[in-house]
């Protein structure tokens, strides 16, 4: 059990049924009437800024016009053509900094962007195809290994299959979906959506997924490279960054992603350990997801601590707002200094040092304070799981920092090995970005191994 380090904590007082009610859709779906009204607000811009900013190049104006004209399948096909994970992206995309930020109706004089994310969800939720909307091209006879069944890998596999190639996906975990299955807040992807989306995607055919296959463990890159015509690495960032403090391994302190994964996989929320007082360290969307979810599970005092100010948070304003709405206390300009342990060696709180920016550099002021807590969740970012690229061939991959270096066609420095998603340098830790990487990499792979010019 991954939450062993919290096993001594009490469980929620509420029953599973009532806890589950705290994890229903954060942004409920539009009904038909709402979709009609909202789609009528779209101005059908030319060279539309929403489309220009979409990392997966969805023609937003076109799919919204299709919704308005009651051509839901047309709308869905338009979305999926560019982004086969358009359903989960519509739920998890930070639209407030992407399409909806760019929407011309977000202009000062109006300030009410079209609800593009919810309209996209409406199209995908209400599409009714008798068969998978995309057909496979004539078989190429080529076979590609995709490592990782997250958004990048799934997107790459689907596009490769569509282009006529066969694909085998190697996935370490029991389920496919990557962060959609294990990492996103429960109230953002409800009703087992990640699995339904994978099932839909696989309908295209030609894709096999092997679970329990860990790169650097029971699977080696050199073997895949030898067996397949090409390899795509959609590894994600499997390791949680460390605080670098004594007591990091103490009971009561763990990575937020581990708790969230357990929460997402739990079929009985009342069995999860819930601290009465929790500290979340970090300021990304994972930190917010963690803080809000533990609060909803029954924690009485949740404090999110960040070493800089609100404006520097990578969590969007929208996310910060969700945290505030859920009574999460946010403490800025403070950094962890010491994990405080009780007599038995369990977490009892944390000492922080106040911070300030001096000449553009963050430094401690020397002033400290303590926050009592029964658990500490660190959400200070993810990094490459080095064991996954530890075989002799993988070690020769060029790196940009800890990420894998790729060119503009998602080629690594090794021939016939490609990479995309969060594990490569241009990654923005966005699902939609990973989908785009996978899609573009698929075109590059297809063109390279089938000896074609660059795909149009």
């Amino acid at each position: 059990m991954i939450l062993e380090s919290l096993s001594y904590l009490p469980k929620s007082k509420e029953a599973n049924e009532s806890l589950a009610k705290h994890f229903t859709d954060l942004a409920p779906a539009l009904n038909a009437r709402q979709a009609a009204i909202e789609s009528s607000r779209c101005l059908y811009c030319y060279d539309a800024p929403c489309t220009r900013i979409c990392p997966s190049e969805i023609d937003v104006a076109s799919f919204i016009r299709n919704i308005h004209d009651e051509n839901i399948n047309g709308a869905a096909a338009g979305i999926l053509k560019q982004n086969i994970l358009g359903g989960s992206c519509s739920r998890v995309c930070p639209t407030e900094i992407l399409c909806e930020d760019a929407c011309v109706r977000n202009h000062d004089a109006e300030g009410q962007p079209v609800k593009i994310g919810l309209l996209q969800r409406y199209a995908i939720d209400n599409m009714q195809f008798e068969q998978h909307p995309f057909q496979r091209a004539a078989p190429t006879g080529k076979k590609i290994a995709v490592v990782g069944a997250g958004p990048a890998g799934l997107s790459c596999a689907h596009r490769l299959a569509m282009l006529g190639n066969d694909v085998v996906i190697y996935e370490a975990k029991e389920k496919s979906g990557g962060l959609n299955e294990y990492g996103i807040a429960k109230y953002k992807l409800t009703d087992n959506f990640a699995q339904k989306e994978v099932e839909f995607l696989l309908q295209i055919g030609g894709i096999t997924i092997k679970h329990g296959q860990t790169l650097g463990g029971n699977v080696q890159l050199k073997d895949l490279h030898a067996q397949y015509d090409a390899v795509f690495l959609g590894l994600g960032l499997g390791a949680s960054k460390q605080l670098g403090l004594t007591g990091e391994d103490a009971p009561g302190l763990l990575a937020a992603v581990d708790y969230i994964a357990a929460l997402r996989q739990s079929d009985d929320l009342s069995k999860l350990p819930v601290p009465a007082r929790a500290i979340v360290i970090g300021a990304g969307n994972t930190a917010i997801d963690m803080a809000v979810q533990i609060q909803r599970l029954g924690a009485e005092e949740v404090t999110l601590v960040y070493r800089r100010g609100f404006e520097a948070m990578s969590a969007t304003e929208h996310e910060q707002h969700i945290a505030k709405e859920n009574q999460v206390r946010m403490r800025t300009w403070a950094q962890p200094q010491q994990v405080l342990l009780d007599d038995t060696g369990r977490v009892r709180g944390m000492r922080f040092e106040k911070t300030a920016e001096v000449n553009g550099r963050l430094s401690g002021t020397g002033e400290t304070f303590e926050i009592a807590a029964d658990a500490i969740f660190k959400a200070i970012g993810q990094s490459m799981d080095e064991t996954s690229i530890s075989d002799p061939l993988a070690k020769t991959l060029k790196r940009d920092g800890d990420k894998i270096h790729v060119d503009d066609q998602f080629r690594t420095v090794l021939p016939r090995i490609y990479a995309g998603g969060d594990c490569v340098a241009p990654g923005q830790d966005l699902t939609v970005q990973a989908v785009q990487h996978g899609k573009l990499a698929a075109h590059a792979i297809h063109a390279d191994i089938n000896g074609m010019k660059e795909a149009a």
Binding site: Y46, A48, A109
Partner: protein, 430 residues
């Protein structure tokens, strides 16, 4: 406050807002509610000979806008389906109870003088203020030789109008159909027959939309449909033109006009009046929103008149008629150019694609190399002043059409040297 009272072909009304002959004026109950709401008058739903007409079930359909707002309305209802006696009795009572309100009785009968002669004393006995001849109903009744079937033949219009003037002492208003090539012909015929006024437009032949599963138009009556009469906001432009045509026709100039067609607010009403209408009739807007709309219509018109310094409706009635002319008298030397207010521009690109694809390629799209921000600018050399960009722009007032000083005098097409048939060609002097 401005005085909204009018006198229309001898009929005094406390305001110019009447309800048109239609379902809202079908019976005393509705009409009383309308008077309570403040309407100046009603044209009672058309009376005919007994036995009364019989209506089908499923009668209306609509043409919707982007957000289900009703742009146009279509109906296949016939004239009153209640007996003549009941209608006459109710009219008498309502007029007695509401002496300061106008009641006009709409009539439709076969083209036999005897029938018209017989009904007139009955109508006069109600105390009604006038009659309106329904020569416009485009659905159902024309199949029986009435309504638009009469209105489309100027000779019939003149003939029946004359019968009515012969047998009736009340003012006679002739209601015209728009389902005709040139509306001036029946208007002239009505005047020749002695009409005191015309009212227009009646509804336009229409099919609003179809059920593509059942392959039948709306409204559906037992699996089939028939064309109806179109009204509501969408017909206003057609009605305004027809009113203007009659107002500026020398042969009918001065003939009182009751304006009808898509009037839903004070501004619509003011526009009809500016093109010559002496009063207006409303139906669809009331059917969609109830009689209460007259409150805002009266208030809006009155405030606008105050602002403009018009004390009574006659102060601005017909004021736009002299400015409505034939194309050939427009100034060929007049020039406007689009101007985009960059502060208001939301960068939707609609003006650009509209002009680029379908007009004169007069808007440039500039892309900032660093930010990718789009800016749209008018190419003044190419702009012909067509107004398309201003029309498609979603931000009111962002694009304006700015008159240019060409330094050239008024010159119309009859004077234009480029016109091979110019009657009054001017010789350009350098």
């Amino acid at each position: 406050m401005a005085d909204l009272s009018i006198e229309f072909c001898g009929i005094k009304s406390i305001n110019p807002f009447w309800l048109a002959s239609a379902p809202p004026t079908d019976k005393a109950y509705n009409v009383v509610r309308a008077f309570e709401a403040g309407w100046g008058g009603v044209v009672w739903k058309t009376l005919g000979e007994d036995p009364a007409a019989v209506n089908v079930s499923s009668r209306y359909s609509a043409h919707y806008g982007k957000n289900r707002e009703v742009l146009g309305f279509n109906n296949i209802e016939l004239i009153t389906d209640r007996s003549l006696a009941i209608n006459l009795q109710e009219i008498t009572q309502v007029k007695k109870d509401w002496p300061d309100r106008v009641i006009i009785v709409s009539l439709m009968l076969p083209c036999e003088e005897k029938l018209w002669a017989e009904i007139m004393p009955l109508v006069e006995a109600t105390g009604a203020d006038g009659i309106e001849l329904n020569f416009g109903c485009p659905h159902g009744m024309p199949e029986r030789g009435m309504g638009a079937a009469v209105g489309q033949v100027p000779e019939y219009v003149e003939m029946v109008t004359r019968w009515c003037k012969t047998h009736c002492k009340l003012p006679v208003i002739v209601k015209l159909t728009p389902n005709i090539t040139d509306v001036r012909a029946p208007a002239r015929a009505a005047k020749a027959g002695g009409a005191d006024a015309v009212s227009l437009i009646n509804t336009i032949n229409s099919i609003t939309h179809l059920d593509l599963d059942q392959m039948v138009a709306f409204p559906i009556v037992g699996g089939a449909s028939t064309h109806g009469g179109y009204c509501g906001s969408a017909v206003k432009p057609i009605a305004l033109n027809m009113v203007a045509e009659i107002a500026r026709d020398p042969q009918t100039a001065g003939l009182p006009i009751s304006g009808i067609g898509g009037i839903g607010n004070w501004r619509d009403a003011a526009e009809f009046m500016a093109l010559g209408a002496g009063c207006v009739q409303v139906c669809t807007a009331a059917m969609l929103h109830g009689f209460r709309i007259v409150e805002e219509m009266k208030d809006g018109l009155s405030r606008w008149m105050d602002q403009k310094g018009y004390q009574r409706i006659s102060d601005f009635q017909g004021k736009a008629v002299p400015n409505t002319t034939d194309w050939k008298y427009l100034d060929m030397n007049y020039k406007v150019i689009a101007q985009i207010n960059q502060d208001d521009c939301i960068k939707c690109g609609r003006c650009y694609v509209a002009c680029e694809d379908t007009s004169h390629q007069s808007i440039n799209q500039l892309i900032d190399a660093a930010t990718g921000v789009r800016t749209y600018e008018v190419n003044k050399e190419e702009c012909v002043g067509c107004n398309l960009c201003e029309i498609t722009c979603p931000v009111q007032g962002c694009i304006t059409m700015v008159p240019q000083d060409t330094g050239k005098p008024y010159m119309n097409w009859t004077q234009d040297p480029r016109n091979p048939r110019a009657e009054n060609k001017v010789v350009e002097t350098v």
